[in-house]
């Protein structure tokens, strides 16, 4: 190779590097963010509520943000393997991750999972799926009080299916027992799908599942009560637990988190994008039809929200006896 060629090559390499660096610099500033596809990591397998709600967001993301989002999966240890790696990922705003409560509060309480609740940086909690009690359509329990009457006369006889042990469903069942003064039996299943199937097939008497199940199984299931603050638009006939004098509001909250090294203005920008998607009528319609309850817990409200939820679930964790033996 003659020296002239070598020089041209060196110059072109240098130019490319400079360009690459320059483009990197510009992408780091918040004004132009996002200027390329945003990686959105779901810490679970595809097909669950976290995936579904992210897919709904994905359909509106480009319209709102100007760049598309790409959904990737990083399942393992109930989300813990992704969350424990989040802060090691590049904090340029092009890596965002789904985040869940009560998972991110209960997991570090229970065991060493490689992260603490406060290590994570959620920037927006955009919805929750309230817990709800379901029975098959042909069940003799027409209302929640039917079920409570039966449960108080027959301790432990009422079986509730739910998704997993020490999960939102399990916590709801424990609190229900406490508030209603009854004893029921909780049967953990390996996810919402199998748990609802058990209700549909009358393998269990009732299910403590998420309200989202109500929209998928239509006339095959009856929702007796929902753990939301007010009735859901998709199910105007289903009373809340509060209406029935049981102070039970809760479910699984889902949000978006970023690596802790992300600049403040980019954190704010991501939060704004998620808010804007929440305001998109298309998105809102699909989510509410699906039984999701939209929330607008933005970045500035995050600290208070996490503090309140941590207090709430720490108390429950102690009751369930799932705090780590230290």
């Amino acid at each position: 190779m003659n020296s002239n060629n070598l020089k041209t090559m060196l110059i072109s390499v240098a130019a490319t590097t400079a360009l690459a660096v320059a483009s990197f610099m510009t992408t780091a500033s918040a004004d132009s963010y996002p200027s390329k596809p945003v990686n959105y990591i779901i810490p679970f397998n595809a097909g669950g509520e976290s995936d579904l709600s992210a897919r709904f967001q994905q359909a509106s993301f480009e319209k709102v943000a100007g760049a598309p989002t790409v959904i990737q999966y990083m399942a393992g240890a109930g989300g813990a393997s992704a969350w424990s790696q989040l802060n090691g990922m590049p904090g340029d705003g092009y890596t965002i991750m789904g985040i869940n409560i009560p998972h991110t509060i209960l997991q570090p309480l229970q065991k060493e999972v490689g992260y603490q609740t406060d290590d994570l940086t959620p920037v927006h909690y955009f919805h929750y799926t309230p817990d709800a009690i379901f029975v098959p359509t042909d069940s003799p329990f027409k209302t929640l009080s039917d079920l409570m009457d039966y449960a108080s006369k027959n301790p432990a006889m009422v079986t509730f299916s739910g998704s997993g042990s020490n999960s939102s469903n399990n916590i709801a069942q424990v609190r229900f027992d406490e508030l209603a003064g009854v004893t029921t039996t909780y049967i953990p299943f390996s996810g919402t799908g199998p748990a609802v199937t058990a209700v549909l097939g009358s393998q269990v008497m009732a299910g403590f599942n998420y309200a989202t199940s109500g929209s998928n199984y239509g006339d095959k299931l009856r929702m007796l009560a929902v753990a939301a603050e007010e009735r859901l638009p998709a199910f105007p006939d289903v009373p809340t637990f509060r209406e029935l004098n049981l102070d039970l509001v809760g479910g699984a909250y889902r949000g978006v988190a970023v690596p802790s090294s992300t600049p403040e203005n980019v954190k704010q920008k991501v939060s704004d994008i998620v808010s804007a998607i929440n305001a998109d009528p298309d998105f809102k319609q699909k989510m509410e039809d699906g039984g999701f309850v939209l929330t607008d817990i933005t970045y500035d409200k995050m600290d208070d929200f996490i503090a309140a939820k941590t207090k709430e679930y720490t108390a429950v964790a102690e009751k369930l006896g799932i705090t780590a033996k230290r």
């Binding site: 990083m74 393992g76 240890a77 065991k111 060493e112 049967i187 390996s190 097939g201 006339d219 699909k286």
Partner: protein, 671 residues
């Protein structure tokens, strides 16, 4: 007729193109261990937002069915199921390939997959609403017994070696409980390691247990991996069609089993394959040929696993309960499109649903030409590729597969460790299949058992819950038959033999003189397993009652079985010759140094993956393995060809994973 108009809607050129592209892409992805239908379908979901719902769905369905079929390729050619559905395909597919019938095996697998796919698809088309009720009739007790039924296959797989087979199953079952328990929430056997919280991933374990031993033995000799194609050109298609026609009842029965198992959420293709394999073996007139390259075994598993595709869509579309993970993603895509799932779907949105089902059937038919072409090419290229490239490429695929599932190099390390363990155990008569069966069926068995117990306990009817339900009883009877059939068969045979004379017994005894001698290594393993069982039992003391019952029982079983094995060995006569039992099967000139180098390279690969980055560590390991399999000093041209190939192969897969399948790569020093 209304349904016919939907057929024509499915037959538009665009839809046909989607189906063909989907089938080809699915087959290629499915044939690579670890790259799954779930990944391919998940990546393509966003594209369907902009397509018409029917075209998008047809493509997703085609990829799914292609991937389940593609799993057979690597099962047959390299003894590693490309998808867990193809576990049982390795039992007879690989022996067939080894003796030179690889192309025939692939052709047979293609025909069986098409038939199975059609049976599943037609059931979906015509019988979906009534069949969906099957999903609801299966409760925890039925799942428990189904898993037990699957485990009875071990008795058939390890004839004459039952104790070792059962010990293998116990090890697999114990491995399946590692991590956070679904039922009870206990954290079991993680040894305070964060990496084990998620449990042992089934796919990476399967890759390790089946593929690494093949790899280790591959480097030891210069013999070709599989027998090359015979010189005389045979018409595989005619031969395969003839064999398939002979096994048509087997194919139909397996397809029906596959459809029904597919309907059960959470059961899936691996159980369908195992159950139909067991049934095919029981019904066969030559059960002793199974596991040694019997085409009927291959037909059973491949027709069953493709039937689960159509079967799995039945509860997905009718009840909104996804039967398998890809079903779950397709369900999500439907919901994003604004389609309402449920019993009314078939009437109110019939156009989309029926167009989709026809599309799925068309895609299944397209598997025939696509599969025959790809299959012939795959076999030819595998049998012609020189070992210096074949070994590193297979090794690279195992690393990709175990890494890609969770973008996690811990799984790669688990894969390597289990693989080396499987190689050692296999030399002393502990086959990998019982371990895999235990691992795959363990969670279903445990969850079913504990749930049944909890429900029965709440209602004060534990015995009735386990034994009083009609479907459970039917499964128990099938399981008992499978378990006892070999014994009955043996008894009948012995009676026949005693009439024919005793000479046969003598020759039979003379044929296996080595196994009747005592092996101190096996006694050592028995002691090790007893210690493992005791240790595992002691650990259960800290668990909740729900979490302890299953591992406690299995640990006890492991101790008892290992004790039996030790006693069996001690009762045998001491051996006079040296360790003949294991070295007898060894080919001359096998190099243990090359084996050791391979194991070290694999281990270093897994450890350096997160440090150096995926491409750099893989390329280094690739070159190292090429060197390890080089038997003659290569000339310059060969070195250059090998180096270029290594960059091309590693780079190609790197781009496929990071750019096409969007798998997260580790942030290492390099890339």
């Amino acid at each position: 007729m209304e349904m016919l108009t939907y057929l024509f809607e499915a037959l538009t050129p665009l839809n046909l193109l989607m189906a063909l592209a989907g089938v080809v892409a699915g087959t290629v992805i499915g044939s690579m261990p670890g790259l799954s239908a779930t990944m391919a379908v998940a990546v393509l979901v966003p594209f369907t937002y902009t397509m018409s719902p029917a075209s998008g769905l047809i493509m997703l369905g085609a990829i799914y069915t292609g991937a389940i079929y593609g799993g057979a390729f690597s099962a047959i050619l390299v003894n590693t199921p490309g998808t867990p559905s193809a576990i049982a395909t390795t039992f007879d597919g690989f022996p067939m390939a080894k003796r030179g019938d690889g192309a025939l095996a692939i052709t047979l697998a293609t025909i069986a997959s098409v038939v199975g796919g059609l049976v599943g698809g037609i059931s979906l088309l015509l019988l979906a609403p009534p069949l969906a009720e099957v999903a609801l009739a299966f409760g925890p007790a039925e799942y428990f017994w189904l898993a037990v039924f699957g485990l009875t296959l071990i008795s058939a797989l390890s004839v004459g070696n039952t104790t070792k087979g059962l010990i293998g199953a116990c090890i697999g079952l114990l491995l399946s409980v590692v991590g956070v328990a679904v039922v009870g929430g206990d954290i079991r056997y993680t040894f305070n390691s964060q990496a084990l919280l998620g449990g042992i991933d089934i796919t990476s374990a399967i890759i390790g247990l089946y593929c690494i031993p093949v790899l280790i033995d591959l480097v030891a000799t210069r013999d070709p991996h599989i027998a090359p194609q015979p010189v005389k050109h045979r018409s595989y298609l005619t031969e395969a069609v003839r064999i398939a026609l002979r096994g048509k009842f087997n194919m139909l029965r397996s397809s029906v089993i596959g459809t029904i198992v597919g309907i059960l959420p959470g059961a899936g293709g691996s159980i369908a394959g195992l159950v139909s394999y067991t049934e095919a073996r029981r019904a066969s007139r030559h059960p002793e040929r199974f596991g040694k390259g019997e085409p009927d075994g291959l037909i059973a598993t491949e027709s069953a696993n493709n039937a689960t595709v159509g079967g799995g869509f039945i509860p997905t579309l009718v009840l909104g309960i996804p039967g398998t993970p890809p079903d779950a993603i397709i369900l999500g895509a439907l919901l994003v499109q604004g389609i309402k799932i449920g019993p009314t779907l078939f009437t109110t949105q019939g156009d989309i649903v029926y167009t989709f089902i026809y599309g799925l059937l068309i895609a299944t038919l397209l598997m025939l030409p696509a599969g025959l072409l790809l299959g012939r090419y795959a076999f030819k290229s595998i049998s012609r590729t020189p070992k210096t490239l074949l070994v590193p490429t297979i090794a690279f695929l195992t690393v990709i597969g175990s890494f890609a599932i969770h973008s996690n190099s811990h799984d790669t390390l688990t894969m390597c460790i289990l693989g080396v363990l499987a190689w050692v155990l296999n030399r002393y008569g502990f086959a990998p299949s019982p371990i895999v069966l235990g691992l795959v069926l363990g969670q279903i068995a445990e969850q079913g058992f504990v749930q049944t117990y909890l429900i029965g306990n709440a209602q004060g009817a534990i015995v009735e819950m386990f034994f009083g339900r009609p479907i459970s009883l039917a499964i128990i009877i099938c399981a008992a038959l499978t378990l006892l059939y070999p014994l009955i068969g043996e008894h009948l045979k012995r009676r026949k033999d005693s009439k024919a004379g005793v000479e046969r017994d003598i020759t039979a005894a003379a044929a296996q003189p080595l196994t009747t001698c005592r092996s101190s290594a096996v006694i050592g393993f028995a002691a090790l397993f007893i210690a493992t069982g005791v240790g595992a039992y002691v650990e259960t003391q800290d668990m909740s009652a729900m979490g302890a019952v299953f591992p406690g029982t299995i640990a006890t079983l492991l101790v008892v079985l290992s004790a039996i094995l030790a006693v069996q060995q001690l009762r045998r006569p001491r051996r006079q010759t040296l360790i003949a039992g294991t070295t007898a099967s060894e080919a001359p000139g096998a190099s243990n140094i090359r084996r050791l180098v391979t194991v070290i390279v694999l281990g270093a690969w897994a450890l350096l993956l997160p440090v150096l980055g995926f491409f750099v560590s893989s390329w280094l390991a690739f070159v190292a393995l090429t060197a390890a399999t080089t038997f003659e000093w290569p000339d310059k041209k060969e070195i250059i060809v090998n180096l270029i190939s290594s960059v091309a192969i590693v780079g190609g897969f790197y781009l496929l994973m990071s750019r096409v399948l969007l798998i997260r790569m580790p942030d290492g020093l390099f890339f």
